[in-house]
Symmetry: C2
Subunit: 304 residues, 2 copies
């Protein structure tokens, strides 16, 4: 099976915004470069952690062009392109292909909740047919907690069968090991990424492609070591260290918590800003998150 060429640790990059809530391209490009220089094999601009769906198609296209124009290699990018409107998904996907992106991360249309596999199949198939480009590599984005709409195992199989070499992978952000395990074992060689960093080692052991998850915005280096040394004796310990991060923002939005951490280490309060409907952490929550993060072993090697 063609599982695509993208492998390793990917960050769904945080998207800094300026006082007008516009994408702050300068801070964003710097963050992307830093991640690629420090542990990330590639990036997913405009994933869920990037507040992707809070920006218009034009804003996303414009930002991505600035990113590649600044020298970030498009081949290392897997931008999110799935929207609720078919025509928006087509436009973003075509643009990513034309830029030379290594793949696209495709949400299913996420407004209507009473849709079936046939409808989701038609949505993805229609995008692939309309883009009609042999360079297209689609990674399905399974994230029930936000999209609600799911990629079932049968639907994944149908898409792989009908679009071999195009539908090459998937990101599983269900947080459900049983689901991820089923995908990894039923579709060997498929480019399966875990959306939960806690499953990185198990994913690699079962032949998965890597991880795409929020904490890579701040702890990519240790994730990279695990990706490289997953067969080494220290792998379990690396995984355990990685697992310490998420509990520090338990009950809070990962996006706002991670932006607060980046803002702290850059000594740059601007970085904490989010676009509505998200809300920044208040001062007390920020302090608590930052304090808890600082006590972790990974804090010593933060490279942002």
């Amino acid at each position: 099976m063609d599982g695509g060429t993208l492998r390793g640790v990917f960050a769904p990059t945080l998207t800094p915004v300026d006082e007008g809530l516009r994408i702050d391209a300068a801070r964003w490009i710097e963050h992307c470069r830093t991640l690629l220089a420090n542990g990330c094999n590639g990036l997913c601009p405009f994933g869920t952690t990037s507040e992707a769906t809070s920006f218009s198609v034009d804003e996303r296209i414009d930002a991505l062009e600035q990113l590649t124009a600044a020298g970030v290699p498009a081949a290392k990018l897997m931008p999110g392109t799935g929207c609720s409107a078919l025509t928006d998904t087509v436009r973003l996907t075509r643009h990513a292909v034309d830029l030379g992106c290594g793949g696209v991360l495709m949400l299913p249309p996420f407004y209507y909740k009473d849709v079936n596999d046939e409808g989701i199949y038609r949505s993805i198939a229609e995008v692939i047919e309309r883009v009609g480009d042999a360079r297209l590599r689609v990674y399905l984005y399974h994230i029930p907690p936000q999209a609600v709409i799911c990629f079932s195992l049968d639907l994944i199989e149908r898409l792989i069968t009908d679009y071999p070499g195009v539908v090459v992978g998937l990101k599983d952000s269900s947080g459900d090991w049983n689901n991820l395990h089923s995908i990894l074992t039923r579709f060997p060689g498929f480019g399966t990424f875990t959306g939960s960093e806690a499953f990185l080692l198990q994913t690699l052991r079962l032949g998965g492609a890597g991880s795409i998850n929020a904490v890579a915005n701040v702890i990519a280096p240790i994730q990279q070591r695990l990706f490289e040394d997953w067969e080494a004796p220290q792998a379990e310990e690396l995984q355990a260290t990685i697992n310490q991060v998420r509990p520090i923002y338990q009950g809070l939005s990962a996006i706002t918590a991670l932006k607060a951490i980046v803002a702290h280490y850059h000594n740059d309060p601007e970085w904490a800003r989010v676009r509505p409907p998200l809300v920044e952490l208040d001062a007390a929550a920020t302090q608590a998150v930052v304090d808890r993060f600082a006590k972790l072993p990974v804090a010593a090697e933060i490279a942002i």
Copy 2:
């Protein structure tokens, strides 16, 4: 309280699409005109029943311009303008105001599910501030089954208080009479529309503005009689007759079922087409829905 000027029976208009899945403006405009001539006081183009979120901002703007250019009075329109991206909502809302629309029906941003009232408040407030036009009239769109994100009673109160004369009404598509009852009694004079046709009479008795619901695409005349005669002895009977429609497509999508009915009565199969992720009814389901509808008393007065 300023409850806006829009009152009565509104149809969230079905959106016919051509073989290229583009909005079929000719069929759409004809349908809109027919509805206004036969029982509808106004229309909500690009509501949930309209497959609104399946079309891009550009497609929606272009269609709305064609509709008003064709002579449909903008003052009778309350187009849906709420998107997941703040900037998209601003653009659609500003466009609707510039066209002279009587109001806009505003979904909350619907991708992120772990948001709070403060975040939804900021989203709506930011749109109002950015549009910055005294002509703007916002109807909040509460539809938990699809958007998941809700307008709580406290959030509604905060928006009414901070934007008097701008936030003038709401459509409640919760399907929950207790919620609608709470809104009607807590905010007298507010422009509250029921999204469930079954609550039309109760809504009018409690001073609500009217109804915005899918079945108005095919049975607006009897809904109009109820709106006019809600204090008359036959009101309960009219309501009971209206209530017979929804069960005929129980377990199916209202959108595909209603498009199938319109296609049947126009003898125009093109009308049944939907944009993915929706899927047309198959032949057997279509026949069953059409047969059940034909047996209803309201079928005799269908005007489409």
